[in-house]
Subunit: 85 residues, 4 copies
DNA sequence: TCAGATAAAATCGCGC
DNA sequence: GCGCGATTTTATCTGA
């Protein structure tokens, strides 16, 4: 194999590895999502309203994000004022 | 605590547990997604075209899904014909 | 009517027109969907299995999409290599 | 071609026709959807907020459905009372 | 940083 | 009425 082919081979191999890693992670994500679905199903069986549960989760996430943003803002101010964080 | 309150408490507790489990899984998913992003970044640093990589991944996924659909269709045919699956 | 009101009026009118156009299109879509439903009903009356029909349609659409994806990928490769498309 | 094959052929042909009709309608729906997208794009270019427009359209549709339900209810009452509709 | 594309989540509708 | 599929809406990400 000449140098060019070798280089291409290496390159293709590196690409393949990147792609396979990503595909593996996507599979893992899909598994977790399955699990989420299962839990919603179990909750539904217990009589809970899935739609409402989703609303609650969304609200909690937004609240959390808000808090994080506030904290970042505070940190920014503190830094600008030369205060210890 | 009277019976009603107790019942509500139990119910609320069960709901909380479902929600916390789901939130945990969502966090795990977000972590995996971060990892995916990192890998794309590394690949890009190695000179690969992210857009092309995404397209390749999409195509591979679609091919896989198509095979699964074919299998499901065959199963439906078999079932419709009363054949053992 | 002063200039502001006039401007708002124009704006509101433009918005209304956009919305009405979209609503009209949505109605048309709903009609087509009704028609689709009717055809499935007729096919069922002729003894065909609706579930299988849906699966066939899904598979055919996926095949088509896969071909399109392949073409797009080739275009991306060509572009990356500086080839005329 | 013997009778069975002939019958199957006819059946397959009928199926194909049903499926092609449906696929045609789905394409038409997709076209309309494209048009909807274009209109949203134009509205956006005019400075309107697409997300809000969607909310408005949803609200109007719900209102319309409510009115229709009310009307149906009134018709039902009238019928139950032997009143002319 | 914004538009445009892509992917994910939520909602809706249908057949069983 | 439930599960599955399709559709629609929301969020993320990339390239200009």
């Amino acid at each position: 194999m000449d140098e060019l082919e070798s280089a291409v081979g290496v390159s293709a191999d590196a690409l393949r590895q990147y792609i396979e890693k990503i595909e593996k992670l996507e599979e893992d994500k899909a598994e977790l999502q399955e699990h989420v679905k299962d839990i919603f199903g179990a909750a539904k069986n217990d009589g809970f309203d899935v739609k409402i549960m989703r609303k609650i989760i969304t609200m909690r996430r937004m609240k959390k994000e808000e808090l994080m943003e506030q904290q970042e803002l505070l940190d920014l101010y503190a830094k600008a004022l030369g205060l210890p964080v």
